[in-house]
Subunit: 243 residues, 2 copies
């Protein structure tokens, strides 16, 4: 059991269970358990909403009570939109992900419970869990649907185990290529009497250098810029634009 | 502007825009911009799907082009499901949240672009942004809908802390100034017959746009670049350099 089970307690709509399967699979989760869904199971509407994640639905298990759905689990989290007056620790979804990682690494069988769409988990359901999970959201407007709540918990699980990929590097040109371009441009601008005030020259050139340094211009880009300058210099007709 | 704008480019379904407003408001985001939705606007279906977040819809702005929707922004992120062969940094949604926090703390006007449901952003849209954002998901099954993608980016924004502000010393120009410069340059290069192979034009212009996007060119720098182009165009003598 290398991942937590997702336990949906008395879900109301097949669409939402399908969307939940889709949200789970996006995050690599495949262990789905249903407690007494309020629609016939299996559900065509669930399959339609699963967008190709129907293998998750096909392998979902069906249970009569929350206790039965949790029977083989050793650690259970219960999701709740609001704080409850319950003698239980409350953690955020991100904290829960970290906790579950270490519990699963220790060989424990872990699950997360979600309640019905409209009402959430009842207190009797929550007593079956050790820990409450909340998703920090706008306190003035909390209106996640079931699949979105599962998505955020599953996303935290997924990202907790997957350090961000290394950046795709954009190799900047060797500095000599950058310097050669800027030196050429400076010479051209001198020839064009661009620096009417000679005192402006260092400032302007420093600004231009800084800009291209920040851009981390590549060799290809510098070749293009050389071509641009040559093209502009090769002007035959009058300029089509005047500043 | 204490939060990023969410820019939906050519969304296909009103329901998805409504669900996006709902996802945004859950995370405290209210700045929504739409580029040429493919359904009549305002949209009853959007309102129905917004579940009480219709104030976000009512205040959404409508634009004809991505460039118009981004005009007053100084920093733009483009979301993409897959890595692209683009000379741009790629960050995760969590990294983007941290970056946006410090950029906004420094007084910058920031936005995140999302593409159409089926296809995502086109390369021409992406060239308008400095940075790509990916959401790390199951590499074997990535199937977020639009509102879920917005939810995850908005959730990362909401949960991200408040790091010290970035150096505010280089405020990039509003995008319209950058776009105007690149558009002018493209026109000038057309006049100079720079694009000998017409098929090269989009690639060359994309490369140039990407480079200046990365540079985060300031208004002052763009004025200088305009002056440089004018100076080069005003050539009297023969070019002093040939490539």
């Amino acid at each position: 059991m290398s991942q937590p089970a997702i336990v949906l307690v008395r879900p109301q709509l097949g669409e939402n269970v399908g969307a939940t399967a889709r949200a789970m699979l996006n995050c690599g989760l495949t262990r789905l358990r249903l407690v007494r869904p309020r629609f016939p199971w299996p559900s065509e509407r669930a399959v339609a909403a699963a967008s190709g994640a129907d293998a998750v639905l096909a392998e979902a298990s069906l249970h009569d009570t929350p206790a039965a759905a949790l029977a083989d689990l050793q650690v259970v989290y219960a999701t709740t939109a609001r704080g409850r007056d319950m003698a239980k620790p409350i953690v955020t979804a991100r904290e829960a992900a970290t906790l579950m990682r270490s519990q699963i690494a220790a060989g424990l069988n872990v699950g997360v419970m979600f309640g019905p769409e409209r009402t959430g988990l009842e207190n009797d359901d929550i007593t079956l869990a050790e820990t409450l999970v909340t998703i920090p959201l706008n306190p003035h407007y909390m209106s996640l649907n079931l699949a979105q709540a599962v998505l955020l918990v599953a996303y935290e699980w997924h990202t907790s185990g997957n350090p961000p990929p290394a950046r795709a590097d954009i190799p900047p040109a060797p500095k000599e290529e950058l310097f050669a371009f800027v030196d050429r441009l400076e010479q051209v601008l001198l020839d064009k009497d661009f620096f009417r005030e000679p005192t402006m020259r260092p400032t302007i050139m420093r600004n231009l250098r800084n800009m291209w340094q920040r851009a981390g211009a590549t060799s290809q880009e510098l070749r293009t810029l050389h071509g641009v300058v040559s093209a502009l210099l090769g002007a035959k007709g009058p300029p089509s634009w005047k500043q």
